[in-house]
């Protein structure tokens, strides 16, 4: 029986038969359907996914005319960072990095980022960031954002003024934990408005909120509130809201945005919050399970993202990095897996960008 080289979720190679690949696609899909209450992929989708995964070529790509917008997060850190953020350890400047992405790496948009890549630490260096933004806007042609993680974790003890909900809850101080999360959400929203309006005043095309909800549901609510305030202050600015994970963790559990609980929501529900808040583009995430195959992960991820794109009124740029969007959790994600995930997201899930 013919076998195909494919990958596991940790990036390692594995040989699988057609039957096994199809079984894994269907099992991954079933998991997404079950978790998110989503419709199944169509038989055509499943067959196309099998063809993409089993393609004998090392690199696959979309058909001409099917190309989508390619946005980048993390700014220059993909060059300058260490392996913790898949950086190359090459200490180039931010101007050089921006122009290299625009002119050598096919970026349709790019962004300026701070080494810590979180909103709170930008406040003390806001003038530096504004000057660099002004300088690069004079040279760059492609849309150029400022990007940072909302990272509400920095507002909790020991980094910030509010009690740490995880610690408080272990002592059964549940009400205190919830109050800390609510205060954090409001503080984060204020900081978002402070930082983002200044960078937009310096010429930024907009703001990219990366890994929204990484610290749970209060992180998400704080971000959505901040986005709403930013939209009010800067009606024409470009706003990208990218998520941290497929489901918003319920650290608070009942905190709401616009009267709706955000905890436990999946991409097709999260996009509605982002739309209401005033985002132009939404970045959904589906996490990779390292113990499952690429077929399982991609079947699952495409099922989630297809529904998200279908219900979205704004464009969706799916997150496709190390350990998300079906891509293996591997620092040097294998090119065969990356390009297969890419093609599947564009041609089956119909994303507007990556």
């Amino acid at each position: 029986m013919a076998e195909f080289y494919t990958r596991m979720g940790d990036g390692s190679r594995v040989l699988m038969t057609r039957e096994k690949i199809l079984n894994d696609i269907q099992a991954g899909m079933a998991d997404a359907v079950d978790m998110g209450g989503l419709p199944d992929l169509t038989p055509n989708d499943i067959e196309k996914l099998f063809e993409i995964i089993s393609d004998k070529n090392r690199v696959v790509g979309v058909e001409p005319g099917n190309e989508v917008v390619l946005t980048y997060d993390i700014g220059q850190l993909d060059f300058t960072g260490d392996n913790g953020n898949s950086g190359n350890g090459v200490d180039v400047g931010r101007m050089e990095s921006a122009l290299l992405h625009e002119r050598a790496l096919g970026a349709d948009t790019f962004e300026l980022a701070h080494a810590d890549y979180s909103i709170k630490p930008v406040k003390p260096v806001i003038s530096n960031e504004m000057q660099t933004m002004e300088e690069i806007q004079n040279e760059i042609v492609a849309p150029y954002f400022y990007g940072a993680m909302p990272n509400a974790g920095l507002y909790y003890s020991p980094d910030g003024p509010y009690g740490n909900p995880a610690d408080l809850m272990r002592e059964f101080k549940i009400d205190e934990a919830m109050q800390a999360a609510e205060m954090t959400a409001d503080h984060l929203a204020r900081d978002i408005e402070y930082v983002a309006t200044r960078l937009i005043a310096a010429g930024s095309d907009g703001f990219n909120f990366d890994t929204t909800a990484s610290a749970g549901d209060a992180d998400a609510v704080g971000t959505f509130k901040g986005v709403r305030a930013l939209r009010k202050a800067c009606p024409d600015t470009y706003i990208n809201v990218g998520m941290a994970g497929e489901s918003i963790m319920g650290i608070h559990g009942s905190i709401e945005f616009d009267g709706e609980i955000v905890a436990g929501t999946y991409p097709h529900q999260q996009v509605k919050f982002a739309q209401k808040a005033g985002a132009n583009v939404f970045g959904p995430v589906v996490n990779t399970n390292t113990s499952k195959s690429l077929a399982w992960n991609l079947g699952r991820a495409v099922t989630f993202i297809k529904e998200c794109v279908k219900v979205a009124e704004i464009p969706c740029h799916v997150n496709m990095g190390m350990g998300v969007g079906g891509i293996p959790m591997c620092e040097t994600a294998p090119i065969d897996a990356v390009t297969r995930c890419n093609k599947a997201m564009v041609e089956i899930a119909k994303v507007d960008g990556v």
């Binding site: 978790m35 392996n83 974790g153 610690d167 809850m169 272990r170 549940i174 934990a177 549901d217 559990g253």
Partner: protein, 211 residues
């Protein structure tokens, strides 16, 4: 008795402390033994963990259920001791995010789930020096859980295992590793005993290995 068992299970899944206390009281009045009540509550707690994993219940709900369990144990514990029907308390676990790494949400959720499952959890927080894990193990912890969110810090998990070996402690402790970049293959490579893809998977494996 089946009705009482179901009432205990349902109260636990509904996670409200007063209702759990009431269900325990009713079960006692009906003559149910302390160990049977605890078993029924435990089944409910397992379901709470599953619902948490599936995003249907959230951390405060899990903790509220755990608080109900704790409150029930305050009543049932002495009864259990008196009857001699005491099941061994689960192991003591030292938990922490390894040194150099400040990401602790995943680890904290895992600590909470372990605590809910009856383990005695010593959560050292984040950026935990290697020596602190060793001290806790020397102090009696028989399980050690280490989390790392970055590829730059996951190597510390291996270093702690090496220290355990050099100090002759490796066979005395069950080592669990987790965190976004950590995989089963990595866990095998560094010689960890348990790899958990999620907090509940880690807890289930910990329960199995320690039972």
């Amino acid at each position: 008795m089946a009705d009482e068992k179901k009432a205990l299970y349902d109260a636990m899944v509904a996670y409200k402390v007063p209702a759990i206390q009431q269900a325990v009281e009713n079960a006692r009045k009906s003559g149910m033994t302390a160990s049977k009540i605890i078993d029924a509550l435990g089944e409910g707690m397992t379901e709470v963990g599953i619902l948490f994993e599936r995003g249907k219940l959230f951390l405060p709900h899990v903790l509220s259920a755990a608080q109900g369990m704790k409150s029930a144990m305050e009543v049932l514990g002495p009864e259990l001791l008196a009857s001699g029907d005491v099941s061994a308390k689960r192991a003591s676990v030292v938990m922490g995010t390894v040194e150099g790494d400040v990401h602790d949400i995943g680890k904290s959720i895992c600590s909470t789930m372990l605590q809910c499952a009856g383990f005695d959890v010593h959560d050292l927080g984040r950026d935990v020096p290697k020596t602190s894990f060793i001290s806790e193990i020397k102090g009696g912890c028989t399980m050690c859980g280490m989390s790392a969110l970055m590829t730059t810090t996951m190597t510390v998990q291996k270093e702690v295992i090496e220290i355990l070996k050099s100090e002759g402690l490796r066979d005395k402790v069950i080592v669990m590793v987790g965190g976004a970049p950590v995989t089963q293959a990595y866990a095998d490579k560094i010689g960890a005993d348990i790899y958990g893809e999620s907090a509940s998977e880690t807890t289930n494996k910990a329960k199995t290995i320690s039972s």
